[in-house]
Amino acid sequence: MLIEFMKGFTVAGRHLVRYLTGKGSVTFEYPEVRREQPPFFRGRHRLQRYQDGLERCVGCALCAAVCPSEAIYLEARENTPDNRVSAGERYAEIYQIHMLRCIFCGFCEEACPENAIIMGPSYELALYKRTDFIMNKEDMLDSPEKGFGDYHEYDPYISHVTEESDREAMGDPWERTGS
């Protein structure tokens, strides 16, 4: 039994040393320090823009159709020469996601033919009022000041999970199976 106690305290002691030396700590000082999310993390939705500032969303409502919890509501309008919002002929005049209904399954970004909706890394979604959980287009749309360099293309097999990142996360599959 003494040996088991020793083993246990060894683990605790190892972590104490790591913490005191500042090398390899596993916890974060959360509000000040934030953990970086993996690229395929499905957090708060983002509506992306083109380089020239036009919205990518054309209001096709495929996201609303595929949504299993019916959290998305949108109404489309036609672009006019005076009011050009998106690159196509139509744009989403109203785009709402009910975040209390959303189950973060990611079907919306998968269904989007324009790569307009994408689930970003943000996971801080607590609010005080229930009505605030209905996110409007303005809440999700990338602001023009933000720049459009960080355009995020949805492709679960190529861009998000590259071979390197896959190996980093999971280890070499060939090594693990030992063949």
């Binding site: 054309v58 096709c60 159709a65 489309a76 036609e78 196509g88 002929e89 139509r90």
Partner: protein, 900 residues
């Protein structure tokens, strides 16, 4: 026995052709194509350009099938044809073997799909057709799933030709369905294919609009998203909408429609949707076309003028009140007038857009609770005598288009604009089956004229005389034939052929007469004259009167007019709980047409009006509105705030046609169910609830209804005693019922599944045979002909369905489509005056003058000018029949001359 030289319809029936389809022995008729027989046998062959109602174009090549023909050189063994054949164009041949699902056929289908997608932009996320597109569907079912096209796709500029139809040429696959529809069904050559080869595109001539009243159907039959609806543009995706199978509120033909709704709003109206893979989708191969008024004019309840709560008058103003309070006030007002002035000082008006149940309750309410016969719907007629003639016409009505016909006679009328779908069905049946169309009168519908086998023209006022002469000639009176020839200008041998044909069409004939005010004061003569012709022709001829009012026949049957009970008097007394001695006023009653007169004379003191549109659309609108001030009590149910509802003492917010259940009857006597597609807006109630409420408040017995189905069941037992069935059992037959079903495919539908024939209660049930009128031995004397000087015309007019209407003015079609007044004239007159189609002219009638666009058609008789009333400033309501008019051409670029 007449032969084929009289008319091509008198040819022998085609012979049977046995052949093999996918290994199964089937039988087609000689001259039929493979795809027609396959469709009948339940074998689906993919197609874009082929449409069952249109001619064969053979340009999409998607219906390629493998055909083996009996080879005479190899002992008649089936041998493969060297190339696959298109099923839509290849006629069936005895002994042929057709394979629609062989390797070769599948290879052809996927290859053709790849070709058709070469220039298609694949902008499905933007396209309104997405979700119900044939191109999407066939790509999934027959396509390869990839494209080898790497070059740039063809691009066109977008034209803005039509206010109702959006053209996006990039998506077009050149099936030419729309071109053929306009040419063949809509009867107007406005669309065409332009340019050559890879550059060809669909367009309208001169970039003009597709002005036809049936043009909206090209949206449905377009297999891709090239032609889409403008009012519906980008409003919603089709899979989000709930479909309700209901019926048109506009078309007296009884067109069945699907209302597509979402969140208490109507988004679009289409012909009935069809089942496809466990879901309901739009029917591209539909033959049940609807008119533009139904398609783009059914959304009027959403107008901003809508009043959604009941109101009662307190002092000068109308203040919102609870429904019960409004009912109490109305009952009190009606009781007061009845006690002071007697029951006959009260009148009940029923809108022609009311359902049969509402008409029945109005009749019951007026006769039992108030005790008067003053209940009527017949406001749209020029004179009270004309409305009586309509009652005579209805009592002789019989026949149904579904049974087909061997010959059809149409008397005076702008049928296409009065009952568009009915007119289309008549023309299409005659055109496709090569049946003879015979037009008689001073104005023939230009829609029928190009297909007419005989046209007998006369002057306004002579129609009855011509019909009497024809009836005499049918009975073998040669003198009458000569007179007919003289008055109509028809050649003697043509008349001989016509008489031979009329005598021969013993299998089934159809006499169709318009009861519209075009004939004005002539209706009382014209109706008996045509009924005389009917009795001369014999039992095999049916008679269908045509009226623009949606539920005219249903209200007539439900007894909502003077002189008519919903059934036999004994049965009615029993059902209404009246003893033998109790008063039941039937024949007494003021026709609606005389209402203004009676109010002015002080004979009518109180009015209950169900649907203010009957007052708004009345020929003497101004006089009526002024007379309403003299009423002691006026209660009205309506949708909108208007100058008439402002005069009401009690206003009931009515539920619109989208918000209530009920039954409509079309002009052939078929029932169609109006299904509640949306919940009633605000505090609005259907009219039957208003009536039942007032009746109960006035201590009327037998008004304890809890649903419209109870009213229907009580009514139908009187109207059609042989009719076995109930509202629920019959109207909700089939897989679709009142519950909203979410199908696996996502489409939500409700409403009855319509099977043709299910709801017919005519014949033995509904129509009681009136004694045929005897044919007079002598024709009435011919009216004297007026000499017309150069440029002078006799004006005849009809209420244009696309024209001004109280409800239609609040629909999207009125907002988008502005139509200029037109005047139709005979080519003879146009040639003499040097006018061409599309020229401008000014018509002077008495003190009025109006600028019109000239249409040169074979419709009006020489010397007759036809002006549809309601378009632009053209208002002819209240004028006497056929006034003399002077026509002056306006030279291009010049302003019209001032009135004078």
């Amino acid at each position: 026995m007449a032969d084929q030289s009289v008319h091509p319809s008198l040819k022998p029936a085609p012979e049977d052709v046995p052949f093999v389809l996918n290994g199964k022995e089937v039988v087609g008729k000689k001259g039929e194509t493979i795809i027609t027989v396959a469709a009948r046998e339940g074998v689906y062959i993919p197609h874009y350009c082929w449409h069952p109602s249109l001619s064969v174009a053979g340009n999409c090549r998607l219906c390629l099938v493998e055909v083996h023909m009996p080879n005479p050189r190899a002992d008649n063994k089936p041998t493969p044809l060297p190339k696959p054949a298109i099923a839509c164009q290849t006629p069936v041949v005895p002994g042929m073997h057709v394979f629609t699902e062989s390797e070769l056929a599948k290879d052809c289908q996927s290859g053709m799909m790849e070709f058709l997608l070469v220039n298609h932009p694949l902008d499905c996320p933007i396209c309104d057709r997405g979700g119900e597109c044939m191109l999407q569907r066939y790509s999934m079912e027959y396509g390869t799933g990839h494209a080898r096209m790497v070059d740039k796709k063809r691009k066109f500029k977008k034209p803005q030709a039509d206010p109702l139809i959006d053209i996006e040429r990039n998506r077009c696959i050149m099936c030419t369905r729309c071109v053929r529809f306009c040419d063949e069904v809509a009867g107007e050559h406005v669309m065409g294919v332009f340019a050559r080869g890879a550059d060809n595109y669909i367009g309208t001539f001169g970039q003009g609009p597709v002005s036809n009243i049936l043009s909206g159907n090209v949206i449905d039959i377009c297999p891709v998203g090239c032609l889409t609806s403008r009012p519906f543009r980008f409003k919603a995706r089709v899979w989000e909408l709930v479909q309700t199978q209901s019926t048109s509120v506009w078309d007296a033909s009884g067109a069945k429609v699907t209302y597509w709704t979402r969140s208490n709003q109507l988004y679009r109206t289409t012909p009935p949707s069809r089942k496809y893979h466990e879901t309901y989708t739009i029917n591209e191969d539909t033959a049940e076309f609807i008119d533009n008024i139904t398609r783009f004019g059914s959304d009027f309840p959403a107008h901003e003028d809508r009043w959604e709560e009941s109101r009662v008058r307190i002092g000068e103003g109308l203040v919102p009140a609870a429904f019960r309070e409004a009912v109490r006030q109305a009952a009190r007002g009606l009781t007061r007038v009845r006690e002071q002035h007697g029951p006959d000082a009260l009148a009940v008006l029923v809108s022609p857009r009311a359902t049969m149940e509402e008409g029945y309750l109005a009749a019951k309410f007026a006769r039992t609770v108030i005790g008067t016969g003053n209940v009527d719907w017949r406001m749209s007629f020029q004179t009270a005598e004309a409305s009586d003639a309509a009652a005579l016409a209805f009592s002789h009505a019989s026949g149904d288009l579904e049974d087909g016909f061997d010959a059809v006679v149409l008397v005076n009328g702008d049928y296409l604009h009065q009952a568009p779908v009915f007119a289309m069905q008549v023309k299409e049946y005659a055109r496709l089956n090569e049946k003879p169309l015979i037009l008689i009168g001073h104005h023939h519908d230009a829609y029928f004229a190009p297909h007419a086998s005989w046209q007998l023209h006369c002057r306004p006022g002579e129609t009855a005389h011509v019909l009497e002469l024809l009836a005499l000639a049918v009975r073998g009176n040669d003198n009458a034939k000569d007179q007919l020839s003289a008055i109509t200008g028809a050649q003697a041998e043509e008349l001989d052929k016509l008489l031979q044909l009329l005598g021969h069409a013993h299998r089934k004939g159809l006499l169709i007469q318009s009861l519209e005010d075009m004939n004005g004061a002539n209706l009382p003569q014209d109706v008996p004259a045509l009924l005389g012709l009917k009795s001369a022709l014999g039992e095999a001829w049916d008679y269908i009167p045509v009226l623009r009012d949606r539920n005219a026949f249903g209200l007539y049957a439900a007894g909502a007019q003077p002189g008519r009970l919903p059934g036999a008097e004994g049965a009615v007394r029993k059902a209404w709980g009246l003893g033998e001695s109790a008063a039941l006023p039937v024949d007494s009653g003021v026709p609606a047409r005389l209402l203004a007169e009676k109010i002015e004379a002080g004979e009518i003191k109180g009015l209950l009006c169900l649907g203010a549109d009957i007052l708004h659309n009345a020929p003497e609108r101004e006089r009526l509105v002024a007379a309403l001030d003299k009423l002691e009590f006026f209660a009205v149910t309506d949708l909108f705030r208007s100058e008439i509802t402002e005069k009401a003492d009690v206003f009931f917010a009515a539920a619109s046609h989208l918000e209530r259940d009920g039954t409509y009857c079309d002009l052939e006597g078929n029932l169609a169910r109006l299904v509640e597609a949306l919940p009633p807006a605000g505090g609005s109630r259907p009219d039957w609830e208003v009536l039942a409420g007032i009746a109960k408040e006035m201590d009327g017995r037998g008004f304890d209804y809890s649903s419209v189905a109870q009213v229907f069941d009580e009514m139908i037992r009187l109207v059609a005693p042989d009719f076995a069935g109930s509202f629920k059992a019959l109207m909700l037959k089939g897989p679709r019922n009142d519950l909203t079903i979410k199908d696996p495919g996502g489409a939500r539908t409700r409403g009855p599944e319509y099977n043709p024939g299910d709801y017919r209660i005519d014949g033995a049930h509904f129509r009681w045979k009136a004694d045929p009128l005897p044919t007079p031995e002598k024709a009435s004397p011919a009216p004297e002909r007026q000499e017309l000087n150069e440029g002078e015309f006799l004006v005849t007019w009809g209420e244009h369905v696309q024209g001004s209407d109280y409800h239609l003015d609040r629909a999207s079609i009125a907002r988008l489509l502005k139509m200029a007044p037109t005047a139709e004239m005979n080519p003879e007159d146009a040639y003499r005056l040097g006018l061409e189609d599309g020229d401008r002219a000014v018509v002077h009638t008495g003190s009025d003058s109006i600028e019109v666009v000239v249409k040169v058609r074979r419709g009006p008789a020489p010397g007759v000018l036809y002006i549809p009333s309601g378009l632009g400033d053209a208002r002819f309501a209240g004028l006497s029949a056929a006034p003399l008019a002077r026509l002056e051409a306006v030279e291009a670029g010049k302003e019209a001359a001032p009135a004078g």
